[in-house]
Amino acid sequence: MIGLVHFLTVAAIVFAIGLYGVLSKRTIVGILMSIELMLNAVNINLIAFSRFITPEVLTGQIFAIFTITVAAAEVAVGMAMIFRVYYDRNTVHAARLDEMRW
């Protein structure tokens, strides 16, 4: 019987993959994609809880809608920022952004 636990497990795995991607991808675009994976994991969590814990009030689904909205805004700003970085330094490698340190 597929239940809450299964969905949570999928979400946990996707979240961890996203986390891995954020820490290991070389370009900022790749990192942003990984963050989207993390947000999707959150959404799976939220909707699964909404289905199994509070089916009658849909709190989780509403939460997920706003998460998607915020994610969209984040991506828009993120891509614009990537253009700026590319314009400034002709690269989108995260490790090259180390003008400021110590």
Binding site: L19, V22, L23, D98, M100, R101, W102
Partner: protein
């Protein structure tokens, strides 16, 4: 009447200098004459009010057991009430008079000393701010008020030491003073926090009534720790070993500042704090013993370093450290009376000596080395007289002020501990020796040809005369007014002169002065003077050789050697430790800083790693999780 007015308006005593600071600091900085006038007038009124308070205390029979307290709430929020206020009892009244008097004298003196200095107005503003802060400290009703003004006093000291900020040594000295005393202040603050936890109040009066109850109930172990933490503050502020290292360096400030802050007033704040909190210390025998030993050791240690110093102000600085040790020693053996008495006479004669030294430096600009001076007594008679009085006073020669107070301390110490008494007497001997050395080398002997000394101007001579008179008669005033009946803790304990002790210390002091004269005044250094001495001491037969050799040996190996060793230890060891403590965060910071590589994924890794640790920690704490891990069922 005036004394009633002064008593009810005692808050004005610190407020007037504060006003003077604001007026001078913000409006009159570029107008030296007005700045000086305003400052001096405010100090004068303050002094008059203090005298009124002093008289009022006696007239109204305000004793240490029924002080006059005025409070206004400062922070009164649930759970914590802190007042600001005025605490008048004989001890604080005495302090008020001393502080305002010395401040007034120093300000008058500074008119002449600082004439033509670019920062004349700024200097007077700082002096006023300092006076205000110090007076606020003296009349504090609780530990918070005391601490606030304590810090403010430290800040003023920092500003004034670094007054010649274009000199690197002055900036370094200011920084050192600030940091070193902060180490002590930290202990003080922790101690205060402890008191708040233990008693729920920081008010002196309430604490005084609560402490005996607490001791009866819980014993003294914890309180002893608290008291020693509190005592760290005085160790820093009053230049006790091992935090005394800032005081000699503090002489980088203008000489009037040294007289006011680093001799007569601020440095005794630590002594005053212990006296003020004596209700706490006096019930803790172990803490008292520590105070006594630190005081005695500091006194002896600093005196032995002063032997070999050549800078006139440094000699005075070490002698200040030594005398502060004396005061602490007196407190440590339980005699507030002796300590406060010595505090008072010391303020007179040490301020006098610093001002006299200032006059010397004023007459001989850019010369600090006493061996480059000499024969100044002809050109600077007033200064010479002042310095002579100061030296005789600090050496404990009757009938000068220091004789009475030192005798009082020695008496108190002798009743408690023989080893401490021995140290105190030896220190007294050394003190007389090096002070006489200073006097003789600077003022006697022949003039150096390239020196063009001149007597100080009138504004500088007046304070010398006033303080000189006080340093002569200061010892009698208390006798006339039954000092010990007023300034005391517990029952009155002023026993008058003890002839045996007085005679011992006097004889030793005279011996020490003669010895100094013998070594430095009679000029053993040049061969022709040496031969002349042979003729004058002819009758002493061959013994004179022995003594002479012994003195030479004493001087070279023991006095010089020990002083040098201790000075070396001080420079490399004590300061090393203090600087090391200060340097630790710097090195550590450099290490941590290196983690900031600028690579955002490193930042992410640290962040997520921390998140993981945090989560694992929390989850493992969960009772359910623990249950499952240990094989239980949920």
């Amino acid at each position: 009447m005036f004394n009633q007015y002064a008593l009810s308006h005692a808050a004005l005593i610190p407020l007037l200098p504060a006003m003077s600071f604001i007026i001078v600091g913000f409006f009159l900085r570029r107008l030296p004459i007005l700045a000086a006038t305003v400052s001096v007038c405010m100090s004068l009124i303050s002094f008059a009010l203090s005298l009124g308070v002093g008289y009022g205390v006696i007239a109204n029979n305000i004793t240490v057991d029924n002080p006059l307290i005025q409070r206004i709430p400062w922070l009164s929020i649930s759970g914590l009430t802190v007042d600001m206020g005025v605490y008048i009892d004989p001890i604080s009244a005495m302090m008020l008079v001393i502080v305002t008097l010395v401040a007034l004298m120093v300000q008058i003196y500074s008119i002449g000393y600082m004439r033509g200095d670019a920062g004349f107005g700024r200097f007077f503003a700082y002096l006023s701010l300092f006076a205000s802060a110090m007076l606020g400290l003296v009349i504090a009703v609780n530990f918070v008020q005391l601490f606030v003004f304590w810090e403010l006093v430290g800040l003023c000291s920092y500003l004034l030491i670094g007054y010649y900020f274009h000199k690197i040594s002055a900036r370094e000295a200011a920084k050192k003073a600030f940091i070193t005393t902060r180490i002590g202040d930290f202990g003080l603050l922790v101690g205060i926090l402890f008191l708040q936890i233990l008693f729920g109040t920081l008010d002196f009066q309430q604490l005084a009534s609560n402490v005996p109850l607490y001791v009866a109930e819980h014993g003294t172990n914890l309180l002893t720790i608290v008291a020693l933490l509190l005592f760290l503050g005085p160790i820093g502020k009053s230049g006790q070993f091992p935090l005394h290292v800032w005081l000699p360096d503090a002489m980088e400030g203008p000489t009037p500042v040294s007289a006011l802050i680093h001799a007569a007033t601020m440095v005794v704040a630590g002594v005053y704090l212990v006296a003020r909190a004596f209700f706490l210390f006096s019930v803790l025998p172990n803490a008292m013993e520590v105070i006594a030993w630190i005081g005695a050791f500091t006194a002896c240690f600093a005196a032995s370093i002063a032997f070999t110093q050549r800078d006139i102000k440094r000699i005075l600085a070490y002698s200040t450290v030594s005398q502060l040790g004396y005061m602490m020693l007196a407190l440590g053996v339980g005699s507030v009376t002796a300590s406060m008495f010595h505090l008072m006479t010391h303020a007179f004669f040490k301020a006098l000596m610093f001002l006299a030294a200032g006059a010397v430096l004023h007459g001989l600009p850019n010369k600090n080395d006493i061996f480059e001076m000499g024969g100044l007594r002809h050109k600077m008679p007033v200064t010479f007289a002042a310095m002579t009085i100061g030296v005789l006073a600090i050496s404990g020669i009757p009938p000068f002020a220091g004789f009475f107070s030192k005798d009082e301390i020695l008496l108190a110490v002798s009743q408690v501990s023989m080893p401490l008494y021995t140290i105190a007497v030896v220190t007294s001997f050394m003190t007389a020796f090096y002070m006489a050395r200073l006097l003789i080398v600077v003022f006697c002997g022949s003039e150096k040809p390239d020196n063009q000394p001149h007597e100080a101007p009138m504004s500088m001579r007046i304070p010398l005369v006033v303080l000189g008179v006080l340093a002569v008669i200061g010892g009698y005033i208390p006798y006339a007014n039954h000092f010990g009946d007023w300034v005391r803790f517990g029952s009155a304990s002023h026993e008058g002169l003890h002839w045996g002790i007085a005679a011992t210390s006097t004889v030793l002091s005279i011996l020490a002065i003669s010895l100094a004269w013998y070594i430095y005044g009679s000029g053993k250094v040049s061969p022709d003077k040496l031969s002349r001495r042979f003729s004058t001491l002819y009758k002493l037969s061959f013994h004179k050789y022995y003594i002479d050799e012994f003195y030479l040996w004493l001087n070279h190996t023991f006095v010089d050697g020990l002083g040098k060793i201790l000075y070396w230890l001080e420079l490399h060891f004590v300061e090393g430790i203090v600087n090391g403590i200060a340097g630790l965060p710097v090195g550590l910071g450099d290490l941590v800083r290196k983690s900031q590589t600028g690579k955002l994924q490193r930042y992410g890794l640290i962040m997520f790693g921390a998140m993981l640790i945090l989560v694992v920690w929390l989850v493992l704490l969960s009772p359910l999780f623990k249950g499952v891990l240990s094989g239980g069922d949920y």
